[in-house]
Each structure stands twice: as structure tokens, then as C-alpha cells.
Amino acid sequence: MAKIGDLLVDLSEDPRLLREFERDAEKVMRERGLSENQRQILRDGNLKRVRQELEAENPDATVFVALLRPIH
């Protein structure tokens, strides 16, 4: 099954893909085989929801770590 995490990394790595996504996100998402639910998450662009989906895609990984900065 296609993962939004893979698309997010590819979009960040490939300026041409990012340009294509900005021009026609629906086409890129369809070509990547994302489900309607995954496509809606990316359309909404809600950070909390994207993190929840990444957690669902990677149940064995810590998707987000709050790295606390030092207290002086």
C-alpha cells in the first residue's frame, strides 16, 4: 500500500515532483496510488493529522520526538 511518508520524502528531495505537485496535486497523488483518505489528509495539510497518519503507517517507529532543548 502506498504511504504518504514516502511521498513527503520524495516531494522534499525532488524539486520537479514538488513543482508538479503544486501544479496538480491530485494527479501526483493518484499516480502514487494514495487512497482517498490519504489524499484528503494531504489536501487538508493539517500537521496533527499528517503525523497521525504517519504513525499509522509506521506502527513500530517513533514518528515524532519532542527533543527538549536545554534549560540554562
Binding site: 511518508g5 513527503l8 520524502v9 516531494l11 522534499s12 528531495e13 514538488l18 505537485f21 494531504l42 495539510g45 493539517n46 500537521l47 496533527k48 499528517v50 504517519l54 509506521n58 517507529a61 517513533t62 514518528v63 515524532f64 520526538v65 519532542a66 527533543l67 527538549l68 532543548r69 536545554p70 534549560i71 540554562h72
Partner: protein
């Protein structure tokens, strides 16, 4: 000069797109890469750039004192430098902004006679200025880690911008064992002693992904205590008006008031 070396770099906040070409080259060409990032995908990306890169996240454990974590991370980085490797240590954001381990690793490596340098990166503060349309040069800017702000009570200039980091963990000294319970009530009390309770601040979190907007919520300082804030949220308190010019100084500088 001993054989090992250290280059400390920042990966920026947004996945892959905010790394400088210099930092990227340092990651790609190092003998060994050790990294500390908040985001799982950023780790995936670093390991694509440098297969075998080692995450330092394992040193963060629930309930563990942060100072102990920092010491272990610095020691791990130094151990690889001492072993003779050209090490790249990559940190989320800017490696020298609110990253004690980045500075400490450089300091100790140099003390032990190794070549060590830091390359700048895009910090969360850089993203904040861009996303919120704020210029720190307009009225000045004060920037504090939120718990330090409460504990050390610095003098606050209300006519300048105030930025408080890590409000999602204010009052926490260890890595939380469960969901964080930030003492926003204490922070609100301190801020309301400085600003009107109605003064509006912004809760902000930069977006790590190109497809997501940053988190931006407006909140009155009086309502801060009850707010559910994202873990890495920052509080931005806009200036209260403008400072009055010093007429004597204007006169001395030969300037007229505008």
C-alpha cells in the same frame, strides 16, 4: 592534529528542503554521521543521504534528566572523533540555536586537539519570522526557553517582541513519562504581570513538511492557561506599542524626532 574531525550541521526545520548545500555535502561525505532530529521522516532522509547514519534519539528516555542525555550524546559524538573518524553530527534546525550538545561537542573536540566546526542552518526562529511576517529588527526581539524565562525572571522590554520556546513543556525538567502537562498557568501569571490580560499572543509551530501549513493560534494571555498546545509550540508575544525615543540621545546624535 589528531586524525578525527567533527562537523556539526543543521538540517533545517522543513524536511530536506531547508538544508544548505554545504551541510548536505558534509552529511554525504562524512566517514560517520550521527543525527538527532524530531521527525521520523527526517531520519529516513538522512539515512538515504548517508546509509548507516546513527540516530542519537536512544539517549532520550522517559523520566531521565535532560543534562544526563546531553552528556551522553556529546560523549558518543566525541568517542567516534577520538576513534579517528571524520564525523558529521546533524541536528534538527540550526545546530547552534538551543542545541547545547552541538556547541559542547565542538568545544570539547577542539580542547582535545581535533578539527571541529559548525555550519549554520535554518532555525525555528527563522521559520517563525517568515511565517508570521515579523521582523526582529523593527522593535527588537527577546528570545527565551520558556522554563528559563520563569526561573530566571529576565527583565522584559514590552515594546519589543517576546518569543518563548518549548511552552509545551514549560516546567518539565525531565523527558516526560506520559503526555506533557505544561505549567501554562504559571507562564500566564508571569505574562499577565507584564502585559494586559487581553493582550493577544500567537502560539506557533513551524511545519516540518512542504504540504502542511504552520500551526498558528491566536490567544489572549488571560486564556493561555487552559490552552492545549502542540508539543513543540512557541509563544510569540507582540510588542505593546513602540518605545519612546530618548530625546537627549537624539539631540546628541544630531537627529530630529520622527
Amino acid at each position: 592534529v589528531p586524525g578525527g574531525s567533527l562537523t556539526v550541521v543543521g538540517t533545517g526545520i522543513q524536511l530536506a528542503v531547508q538544508v544548505t548545500s554545504q551541510a548536505r555535502a558534509a552529511i554525504e561525505h562524512a566517514d560517520e554521521v550521527l543525527y538527532l532530529v524530531t521527525d521520523f521522516l527526517a531520519g529516513t532522509w538522512i539515512e538515504r543521504l548517508h546509509p548507516g547514519a546513527e540516530s542519537l534519539e536512544r539517549y532520550y528516555e522517559a523520566g531521565k534528566d535532560r543534562a544526563e542525555t546531553y552528556a551522553e550524546i556529546v560523549e558518543r559524538i566525541l568517542s567516534r572523533v577520538r576513534a579517528g573518524a571524520g564525523v558529521c553530527a546533524a541536528f534538527y534546525g540550526h545546530p547552534g540555536v538551543l542545541v547545547r550538545t552541538g556547541h559542547e561537542a565542538i568545544r570539547r573536540a577542539r580542547l582535545e586537539g581535533f578539527d571541529a566546526r559548525m555550519l549554520p542552518g535554518v532555525s525555528a526562529e527563522d521559520c517563525l519570522f517568515a511565517d508570521l511576517g515579523l521582523d526582529p529588527g523593527e522593535a527588537g526581539c527577546q528570545s527565551y526557553e520558556a522554563t528559563s524565562f520563569l526561573v530566571y525572571r529576565p527583565a522584559v522590554e514590552v515594546s519589543a517582541l517576546l518569543v518563548l520556546w518549548q511552552i509545551g513543556f514549560v516546567g518539565e525538567l525531565t523527558t516526560p513519562t506520559g503526555p506533557p502537562r505544561p505549567r501554562l498557568d504559571v507562564l500566564a501569571d508571569r505574562l499577565v504581570s507584564l502585559y494586559p490580560a487581553e493582550h493577544e499572543a500567537l502560539v506557533y509551530e513551524a511545519s516540518p513538511y512542504v504540504v502542511c501549513a504552520p500551526v498558528v493560534h491566536r490567544v489572549r494571555l488571560a486564556d493561555l492557561a487552559g490552552l492545549d498546545v502542540p508539543p513543540m509550540a512557541t509563544l510569540v508575544v507582540p510588542p505593546l506599542g513602540r518605545a519612546d525615543p530618548d530625546v537627549t540621545m537624539l539631540d546628541r546624535l544630531g537627529m530630529s524626532p520622527s
